[in-house]
């Protein structure tokens, strides 16, 4: 956007009572744009991270070996039934502190930034929900199909990767997309530990300018756009992966 258009836009919004003067200040505009980028980065890192965690946990849950399934089940239950913010505090304020102390005694710096902790915690948190969706999907795979695959000599691992997961994915896709929408919204907790995401940068701006409503509208629009993109991609995948008789 050129410099000529922005003041006109700001004036137009001022006319309807919305004060967007902060975009004319270069440093504040850059801070806000950086916030938008950080939120996008968080989403782009946590989506694959949570999916990987979900597949791993679903594999453990359906492994049929109690010594793998029971710890996974305990992890799932604890993660589902505790707030993300408290998990983030437990990870960032407790684990991170312990790691820093350990590294300091060995004379090193802590490479784990708040950003990394948000990615880890949110990935694991949503991974649990993905795992439950995938587990339900795996359980929905018809026994006959599995028997047929077993009779063709598939090993346990091949069965999971080549038969169960592809079919489970089709059954689980609607709830996986729902989970990813939730995940995008959940990245806003990053502002609690001062990761410079869009929410945090907005707080910084509105404490200076007292334009809370204006910035909130921008944040909501941005999250609306991101969640719309996710559900659009989800619908595209659903039509792409459609198999008659397996899922919608």
């Amino acid at each position: 956007m050129s410099e000529g258009v922005l003041p006109q836009l700001v004036a137009a919004f001022k006319h309807v009572g919305l004060n967007y003067a902060f975009v004319l200040d270069i440093s504040e505009r850059q801070a806000f744009a950086h916030g938008l980028l950080v939120t996008l980065q968080l989403c782009l890192l946590t989506i694959p991270g949570s999916l990987a965690a979900g597949v791993l946990l679903a594999g453990l849950l359906t492994s049929g070996r109690p010594w793998l399934a029971q710890p996974a089940r305990a992890f799932v239950e604890v993660t589902r039934n505790t707030p993300t913010l408290v998990q983030l505090y437990c990870a960032f304020l407790v684990l991170n502190m312990l790691i820093t102390q350990q590294l300091q005694t060995h004379g090193g710096g802590n490479p784990l930034t708040p950003f990394v902790w948000v990615v880890i915690v949110v990935s694991l948190h949503k991974g649990v929900f993905h795992a439950e969706a995938l587990r339900a999907g795996i359980e929905a795979v018809p026994q006959v199909t599995l028997e047929a695959a077993r009779s063709l000599g598939f090993s346990r691992r091949q069965l999971l990767w080549r038969v169960e997961l592809p079919l489970a994915l089709r059954f689980a896709l609607p709830s996986l997309v729902n989970n990813v929408v939730d995940l995008v919204k959940m990245t806003a907790v990053a502002s609690a530990i001062a990761v410079g995401d869009v929410t945090y940068e907005s707080i910084m701006i509105w404490t200076q300018r007292d334009n809370v409503l204006e910035l909130l509208l921008l944040i909501l629009l941005y999250f609306g756009l991101l969640t719309w993109l996710v559900s659009w991609a989800g619908r595209w995948l659903e039509t792409r992966l459609r198999m008659p008789g397996y899922g919608q």
Partner: protein, 272 residues
Amino acid sequence: MASDALLAAPPRTAPGAGLLRALRNPWSLGALAVLALLVFWTSTGSTPAAFVYLWTWTPALLRGLLANIEISVLAVALGTVVGLVVGALSLSPSRALRNATRWYVQAFRNAPILVLIYFTTYVFPFEVHLVSWTFPFPDWIKVVLGLALPTSANVAEIFRGAIQSIPSAQWEASQSLAFRRTQIFRLIVLPQCVRRMLPPWMNLYASITMSTSLASLVGVHDVVDTAQIASNTVARTDFTILVYFTLLALFFAYCYPIARATRALERRHERH
């Protein structure tokens, strides 16, 4: 035949074995271990300092948790009432009304709850002037409103889904039995809806309870805030670890039974 084998009666055992089995479950084993440890510590006077501090902070933490529970109950109560109205409007014959409710539901379901809490906290004034009286508008009420918004949008969706999941053949069948429209709705459709709505509604309650932890970010004295104060006041590494994991345990102790009950309800309804 296969299902008969799966539903085989539990093997008969001696009377004492039932108690033994109950003691073998991981929950009672854990509780016994904790009890034994507490007895050992108090009798030998060797309780670790972190646990002594935790004991003194426990009343404050529980008071904080009560604030969270109050906020969650009020928010869900308010959100449910509004959500039922919005959900009913989303089924109205008027196209404009349907569109308006769809926008409402989309907007508040796709907004991060934290952002909504910031929204209600900073946009509403801290006092309300009504004619000549001034009422304070405390932060915790603003958090209730902030949490009621997403609750109402979700309840509206749950309600709409439940109504639409009732087969339309039931309407026709009951019409043929000479029920009036309001009677069909009240006697046939709604009772089934309540049963279908209960599990997702309980899930929503648990998730809103967990979201009340965000209230600490706008300065409400809830359990998370209390834990932070405790951690900063005592300023000991072992106590900080203990207090944050206690926080996790407190939320788990409140939300896990709700999740278990929800799953039990879902399983019972599967058979109908």
